[in-house]
């Protein structure tokens, strides 16, 4: 403090004015740090959580004999065969070597006019029912909770007796993407019953001879 008093002496009286200090703080380092932290958080954050598609497979029981397996009506069966180079084929009915002629494979794809058109055509009744129900909800004519709506759709699917039973069969050259696409197509077209199964030897042979 002694030094301060000495200084005062030199000034020869006058009003003692405390030195004005700026009230501003230099915020640059703080801003720097914040920029860094924000960048870090933005890059490490997983924003979109991954979505999942649930698929339930029939229980595998080694005691199950082929004759005990559920019999499905051949007229309603639509088989989708997947093979190399993302090729997709379909045929109706069943390929039974005991009952020739074998059905011919029809080539299709996963585009809008491909397999979807066939599925929609076969599943017209159920699809219309569900689509109308959803439209009613969207336009506000029907106000129900999400779970109720899900249950209603489930009930529609359960009651359906005319829609196709789709069997998705992928051979060993098919890619995982094709199978996912096929299952996805089922949910787009509101197919009530479908399953992922192994192709029979007859079908593998049919795929070999199918047009490319």
């Amino acid at each position: 403090m002694a030094e301060l008093i000495q200084e005062e002496k030199g000034k020869k009286g006058g009003k003692r004015r405390p030195k004005k200090l700026s009230t501003r703080i230099d915020m640059t380092p703080m801003v720097d740090l914040m920029c860094l932290l924000i960048t870090f958080f933005m890059l490490t954050t997983a924003f979109s959580k991954p979505k999942v598609m649930v698929i339930t497979m029939p229980e595998k029981n080694p005691k199950d004999k082929p004759e005990n397996q559920p019999q499905i009506s051949a007229a309603r069966t639509l088989n989708i065969l997947l093979t190399a180079d993302n090729r997709v084929y379909y045929y109706m009915g069943m390929a039974d070597p005991k009952k020739p002629p074998l059905p011919t494979l029809i080539k299709t794809d996963f585009s809008k006019d491909g397999i979807r058109k066939i599925l929609l055509d076969k599943n017209r009744e159920l699809f219309t029912k569900i689509a109308e129900y959803r439209d009613k909800r969207l336009t506000g004519k029907l106000v129900v909770a999400d779970t109720t709506a899900d249950n209603a759709v489930k009930q529609f699917k359960k009651e359906d007796k005319k829609g196709p039973i789709v069997l998705i069969k992928a051979d060993d050259k098919a890619k995982y993407k094709d199978v996912v696409n096929a299952i996805d197509e089922m949910s787009i077209c509101n197919i009530a019953s479908y399953a992922v199964v192994d192709p029979s030897p007859v079908e593998v042979g049919m795929l070999k001879n199918a047009p490319k």
Binding site: I38, M57, A174, Y176
Partner: protein
């Protein structure tokens, strides 16, 4: 003409609004962020219309990479005190007659997806840097003679019976590889799978119905 005297301006900018905004953003990110888990391999999942979100907890994920290598991940559960990963490792150690030190078990509990024969697991836990870790990720063996994946699944299900199974396969993987995993799961009485996909919305309505033939 007298010169117009320009008032001397301070070169300082008022950064207060900027700082305000930054703190706001920072708080937002800090509170909302869930960290992206480190994954053993880069996997490009196929697209689907499914909007169901993958569960955060109680899930074991089986990764099937493009080259067919299989990786495994299991979470610690919602409750931080359960330490499911530790329990799983202890069961695996018992099965394969290996001993892990408590420190190794603790470290394993904090790691994420892995894929290597169990004999390399010690080295993987010990490895410090990401590159050394990656080198050891050779895929979980799942041949019929040495089916370690099956044991991982069993141990995981024994530790956390409520665990669901997610399969995260690369779009270009051969279906046979994924099928092998699915078959294995079915042998262990898991019949419900969550296939991890990207959301790609496709809206179709009655107008998309083909005309009646």
């Amino acid at each position: 003409m007298p010169k117009i005297k320009q008032p001397a301006r301070s070169p300082h900018i008022d950064m207060t609004p900027m700082v305000d905004m930054f703190s706001l953003l920072l708080t937002f990110f800090m509170l909302t962020s869930t960290f992206r888990p480190q994954e053993a391999a880069l996997i490009d999942t196929p697209a689907s219309v499914s909007e169901k979100q993958a569960p955060d907890n109680d899930i074991m994920t089986i990764y099937v990479a493009k080259d067919g290598k299989v990786y495994f991940n299991f979470d610690n559960g919602r409750d931080t005190s359960t330490h499911f990963r530790r329990g799983m490792l202890e069961k695996m150690a018992e099965q394969y007659k290996l001993t892990f030190t408590p420190k190794e078990i603790d470290k394993f509990g904090k790691l994420s997806s892995f894929g290597m024969p169990i004999k390399d697991l010690k080295a993987w836990i010990a490895a410090e840097d990401a590159k050394a870790k990656e080198k050891l990720q050779t895929g979980v063996p799942m041949d019929s003679t040495d089916n370690q994946l099956a044991w991982w699944i069993r141990s995981a299900r024994l530790t956390n019976p409520a665990a669901e199974v997610a399969i995260k396969g690369d779009a270009e993987t051969d279906y046979t590889k994924v099928k092998k995993v699915m078959d294995l799961l079915q042998e262990n009485n898991v019949n419900k799978f969550n296939l991890v996909t990207n959301l790609m919305k496709q809206d179709i309505g009655i107008k998309d119905l083909p005309p009646v033939q």
